[in-house]
């Protein structure tokens, strides 16, 4: 093999790599927060006694979970554009990501809520708590605590799939990489570097979620057990 | 007569905790030994050391001529000579009773299927379960499962059988059927090391009884030892037990 690796050619592009990584993180944080809120609402909707609402939420979750993110992204970005609404790529990307991750969130959170012991509901009911109070204290908070590992795992996967938005020219990390490799012709090296940066982001997110979990769920920390 | 199982000053620790603190014991061929003692006294650990489910820190264990303490021991050869039955049966749930028994003879001893099947039938007859050959473990009662586990060990024709509280998980009415099988085995001349809480069995069947206390062999004797304990510890143990 005659190939000579040349990572040096990439050195001058480091500010762009950083920008790309930052955009990836921003998009991730934005979609995590929005996805959690929307997904939780969908989960509640899915458990609703209202058949229509429940079916609708179910259909949404199934649709998202059984189609590729790339198709969802194209559908939203190119679809809206063809209808005359040209969104900035980053906006379209975040919308698609929220649309996508909320469905997974809903499924995970619903499983957590379904695991609420019956006795607790009856106890709360007999204490005269209102429905929103019951929902928040008895069902939702413990559910989120229960599914926290699954949920954060999903958000890390979502961070990785931000790379897909490069396909509508979002200049996040992978998009940046595409630009750089076409300038430097150091394609392989570029993607090795980018792979390393993604790994770093994955580790940062894992550590962040772990710390956040400790801060949020003091009870679990004290007991040292999963619920 | 030489001992088939011999422990000499065996020490075993889990991390910082020393569980066996110099255990010595010799079992002659054809002897049935009952090992009794409080929970946590190290009975199971001693038994597990005998067939190398645990490795020891110091001392010697010889079983049927295998130096069990030797790190270079061929564990498989040892296991060919030593059968063990656990409290939790540990039958293979995906195999029928017959397949459970045939697995090791076919896989390890390379017996032909027909030979192994005959062996299984023989072993099942010995534990009184000939008609259950085609059942799956979950279709059997606890006592029946435990008898299958014994048959599975017997089919390998071991020289020594180890039993670790094999009736502890069973309802009282199922305990008897398992103990009877073990009694038959003892009468048939099988060398047995039996950890048990069944004092009746120890008294009636065992040639000798070993009382373990705090990781040591505290007292050894025949059935009469339970009626007149020599040490205050055994006396206290018996008082509690009754």
């Amino acid at each position: 093999m005659k190939y000579k690796f040349d990572f040096g050619a990439l050195a001058e592009y480091w500010p762009q790599f950083v920008d790309g990584a930052l955009l990836t993180l921003e998009m991730t944080v934005l979609s995590t927060v929005s996805g959690l809120v929307v997904g939780t609402l969908v989960a509640i909707g899915r458990r609703s006694e209202n058949k229509l609402l429940s079916r609708l939420c179910g259909a949404y979750v199934e649709t998202v979970r059984n189609t590729p993110f790339l198709i969802q992204l194209f559908f939203i970005y190119f679809g809206l554009a063809s209808a005359g609404l040209r969104l900035p790529v980053v906006v379209a990307s975040v919308i698609a990501m929220v649309f996508n991750v909320a469905a997974y969130t809903a499924e995970i959170v619903r499983a957590g809520m379904d695991a609420t012991p019956r006795g607790q509901l009856e106890a709360a009911d007999s204490l005269g708590m209102s429905l929103p109070q019951i929902y928040w204290h008895i069902i939702l908070r413990p559910a989120l605590e229960r599914v926290y590992p699954a949920l954060t795992g999903q958000y890390i996967l979502m961070m990785l799939s931000t790379s897909v938005t490069s396909q509508i020219s979002a200049e996040e990390l992978t998009g940046i990489a595409n630009n750089i490799q076409s300038n430097t012709f150091r394609s392989f090296e570029t993607f090795i570097v980018v792979a390393g940066i993604y790994l770093l982001l994955t580790l940062i997110l894992k550590a962040g979620f772990w710390g956040l979990g400790l801060a949020l769920f003091t009870r679990r920390r004290r007991l040292g057990t999963s619920l | 007569m030489s001992a088939v199982i011999e422990l000499k000053d065996v020490h075993k620790s889990f991390g910082q905790v020393e569980v066996l603190k110099g255990v010595s014991l010799a079992v002659e061929r054809g002897e049935a030994i009952a090992v009794i003692g409080r929970s946590g006294s190290g009975k199971s650990t001693a038994l597990r050391c005998v067939n190398r489910l645990e490795t020891i820190q110091s001392g010697e264990i010889n079983v049927c001529g295998h130096p069990v303490h030797d790190p270079k021991l061929d564990v498989r050869k040892l296991r060919l000579d030593v059968g063990i039955v656990f409290q939790s049966y540990n039958l293979f749930p995906h195999l029928t009773v017959e397949e459970n028994i045939m697995l090791a003879p076919v896989t390890v001893k390379k017996l032909r299927k027909a030979e192994a099947r005959a062996l299984a039938a023989q072993a099942l007859a010995r534990v009184g379960l000939a008609e259950k050959a085609q059942s799956y473990p979950e279709q059997l009662s606890g006592g029946q499962q435990q008898r299958v586990a014994i048959a599975r060990s017997l089919a390998m024709q071991p020289q020594v059988m180890l039993f670790d509280e094999v009736t502890s998980a069973l309802d009282p009415e199922l305990t008897g059927e398992v103990l009877r099988v073990m009694e038959d085995l003892a009468k048939g001349g099988m060398t047995m090391l039996v950890v048990t809480h069944e004092m009746g069995f120890a008294r009636k069947v065992a040639d000798r009884i070993v009382y373990m206390h705090q990781g040591r062999v505290w007292e050894v004797g025949d059935g009469s030892m339970l009626a007149n304990p020599q040490t205050p510890e055994l006396r206290a143990f018996m008082a509690h037990d009754l």
Partner: protein, 218 residues
């Protein structure tokens, strides 16, 4: 630029893409499964160093986007001097990705089989490999079917990324049609429906299997 009308011929073109999507999925699943099985064996090796090394490799693969793996493979194979066919690059990348995930799924299943089963097998003088083959894997297999079928959905969806190296599977076919018809909602809607038609039955099947397994184990 003049938009072409969307016709049945376009649907036919997409159907052709569906075939390639299925082919790539099968390729990724079969080879990923074979490699994944090997990696799973490493993950449960009795040697600590092997376990750790394979864990690190799996974590690395799972910490990089499939798209980046795909580019790295595509360009990486390219530097050996020969132009790689997109299906090869996509197949290799998908194999790496599937292997990492399947290995972890299956390791979980193997470890869900009680340790005492392994002990019982060893006490009957079975070797480690015999115990694994005759006792542990058959039990793990039952546990593994539902999540493995579930992962097939993941594989099918991921093949859409192969479009970026110019492999004309369903997503790429849809993109090409979109570029000439500009009927984006319709085109990507239909493509999505095709994916749904492949994936949803798998998801439903996986759920059914999962339920049956739980009933079977009380």
């Amino acid at each position: 630029m003049l938009a072409q009308p969307f016709t049945l011929a376009h649907v036919g073109y997409m159907l052709n893409g569906v075939l390639w999507t299925l082919a790539l999925s099968a390729l990724a699943f079969v080879f990923g499964g074979i490699a994944g099985f090997g990696v799973m064996l490493l993950r449960i090796s009795r040697f600590r160093a092997v376990r750790i090394a394979s864990l690190v490799v799996v974590q690395i693969v799972q910490g990089i986007p499939l798209l980046v793996i795909l580019f790295a493979v595509y360009f990486g194979l390219g530097i050996f001097g020969f132009q790689v066919a997109p299906i090869i690059a996509a197949g290799v990348a998908m194999m790496i990705y599937s292997a990492a995930f399947l290995a972890e799924i299956w390791r979980g299943c193997v470890e869900a089989v009680p340790r005492t089963q392994f002990e019982a097998a060893e006490c009957l003088a079975l070797t480690r490999w015999e115990a694994l083959r005759k006792v542990i894997l058959p039990q793990a297999f039952r546990l593994a079917i539902p999540p493995t079928v579930g992962f097939m959905v993941q594989v099918v969806k991921s093949t859409s990324l192969a479009s970026v190296v110019g492999f004309v599977e369903l997503t790429r076919a849809a993109q090409i049609i979109n570029n000439s018809t500009f009927q984006s909602f319709l085109v990507f809607g239909i493509a999505g429906a095709f994916y749904f038609a492949i994936c949803w039955p798998l998801s439903a099947w996986s759920r059914t299997l999962e339920r049956k397994l739980h009933v079977g184990r009380h």
